[in-house]
Symmetry: C2
DNA sequence: TTGAAAGCGCTAACAT
DNA sequence: ATGTTAGCGCTTTCAA
């Protein structure tokens, strides 16, 4: 059975290809009678117009390229995968397909499909290098960044409000009687570091709490390095009663360290994280953290990129996070 | 700056479009001199040919559609996401793009992009409904299934050898002195149930061990239902010394149940899983399980679908799994 | 080795 | 309201 074309349908229906094209795209310009007849034939023959030719003539790919960062840890992948679900679900409603790809050549180059016009828009996940942002800017394809961890004036981004998250986490700790609070942050993305630290100190300041200089200048890069930092922290003469980890995976490292040092959580030390990765509710004790609707972020990203493709101006957005109370923080009386 | 076309390049190089096309596709038919000249112009102008037109004329999309099951749990997502990584990495080497999509209308219909000729091949993940298999068969697009959990003669599939896994897990338990072994399996996919049960009884049989009828007719659907099944199991007069969970997520539910019933693992009861999901090495105690190279499965899936697209005959494949010894099984002396 | 020209299957401008 | 036709940017046949 040969693949049908608009021509075939037109012939069968005894109309012109224009008519067929019009009914395919729900456009005015055909009588109801003709429309009906064509629709019947389309249904009868189960005709599906070729996307390739439509793409060619409209100079549009109907693809969104989802660019994953190649250097993620498995847990971060999971975080982003939940966002991906939101993107994919939404894409089906927007009549876009999503192509998953990743930067090539050590993060600094976009894949060919971008330059071959095979994507109408790009959604980057996670913080990306300035070099890549430049490339994206100059290739002319609309793009935005989800969870860039930073606020760059020149790029549209969707970010969880990490400053507020750090503020809320700190306030929560304070409400539970903690005053000697440490923060393990990430200096990898300086904006992220600044945001979380200022949220932290803002909350401390509001309660006129002093910040121990040994507690606020700690940076980790992952679970293992957080483990090492926690070790130093816990060996201090006067150790904190609570530690805020700006990433859940840090909290997992810190917990492991506490266990190894025979400190029980939350009795000896309370721990709070940010992100709510899947693991957080399965470790022992379950991690209290600040979470976000990841699938919702994906939905939003899709909606925003569609607006951008339409040429509309789209503002960066800061998403509120929510406290998720579990078992890793205790009350000091 | 207007988008360049082969015509522009041809004009700049003073040759015909044919020549340009030939050098773009590394085909014979142009003199070295001409080739060089055209290549220079291409590099100079940073020309990237449009994919859309190529697709149209070659009647090929250069896309692989990766079909995700819509009803996955986060745990399963974890498993399949690792496979996805393998697929994506490999796709870039094969010059295919991967479009991620999912079945629509309650699993029984393929997305439009398949019928519009926007995919040269389909990779299904996880067991899919027979109705969907029919659709896939009749649409004429080559496809295969990764981790279908079943062996259907008519479809190409890539499956971990779950029977062998259950056999190995059981043998491992027996080697560690266990004789009262229970198995919590999944009846959702009957082939999977059969495979795991026959692996189990084969190992038991080889050691002339009797199977307690209360220990071998247990089916769960997820973590929570495994919890409930474990509860019944652990309340039995004579409870098993070890339980084999045919899915890691079951093992996690069983572990939670054991803890809630004050049974310590592995002292009071040993647990072994199958799959090695990411979580398994993070829970307490770390889960001993039978794992598989998931990224490798993805790579293989990509290679196989490319072969199928080329029209080659491709056989289904059964992949060996490996025992991963951790802390959830103890030795009985 | 080279170039002219005919499509691939659509959309849309234009004429009727 | 309807039909004719000229492209979209490539590949490839065919003739030179």
């Amino acid at each position: 059975m040969k693949k049908l074309t608009v021509k075939d349908i037109a012939k069968k229906a005894g109309v012109s290809v224009t008519a067929v094209s019009f009914v395919l795209n729900n456009k005015a310009g055909v009588s109801n009678e003709t429309r009906k007849r064509v629709q019947d034939i389309i249904k009868e023959t189960d005709f599906k117009p070729s996307l390739s030719s439509k793409k060619l003539v409209l100079n549009k790919s109907f693809n969104i390229c989802l660019m994953m960062n190649a250097f993620s840890s498995p847990f971060e992948d999971l975080f982003y995968f939940e966002i991906t679900r939101g993107i994919i679900n939404r894409s089906m409603k927007c009549n876009y397909n999503v192509i998953i790809s990743k930067p090539i050549l050590s993060q600094s180059e976009l894949p060919d499909l971008i330059y071959s016009g095979d994507a109408d828009g790009i959604i980057f996940m996670q913080d990306i290098s300035p070099a890549l942002i430049d490339k994206a800017n100059s290739c002319g394809v609309p793009f935005l960044i989800v969870d860039s961890h930073s606020s760059n004036e020149n790029v549209t981004s969707i970010n969880p409000d990490y400053k507020k998250a750090a503020y809320d986490a700190t306030s929560y700790l304070i409400r539970h009687g903690h005053t000697d609070i440490a923060i393990i942050a990430s200096k990898v993305v300086s904006d992220f570091y600044n945001q979380t630290l200022s949220g932290f100190s803002e909350a401390m300041g509001e309660h006129n709490l002093m910040i121990n200089p040994h507690f606020c200048n700690i940076s980790a890069t992952g679970e293992d390095s957080a483990y090492e930092e926690a070790k130093k922290l816990f060996m201090l003469e006067k150790r904190p009663s609570a530690v805020l980890c700006t990433v859940d995976s840090f909290a997992i490292g810190v917990m492991r360290c506490a266990k190894d040092m025979n400190l029980s959580i939350p009795e000896d030390v309370s721990i709070i994280g940010i992100d709510d990765i899947l693991l957080s509710r399965y470790i022992e004790p379950k991690l209290t953290t600040i979470g976000i609707d990841k699938e919702g972020m994906g939905t939003l990203a899709m909606d925003m990129i569609v607006q951008k493709i339409k040429g509309k101006k789209v503002e960066s957005i800061l998403l509120p996070m929510q406290l998720i109370e579990r078992d890793s923080v205790n009350t000091i009386t």
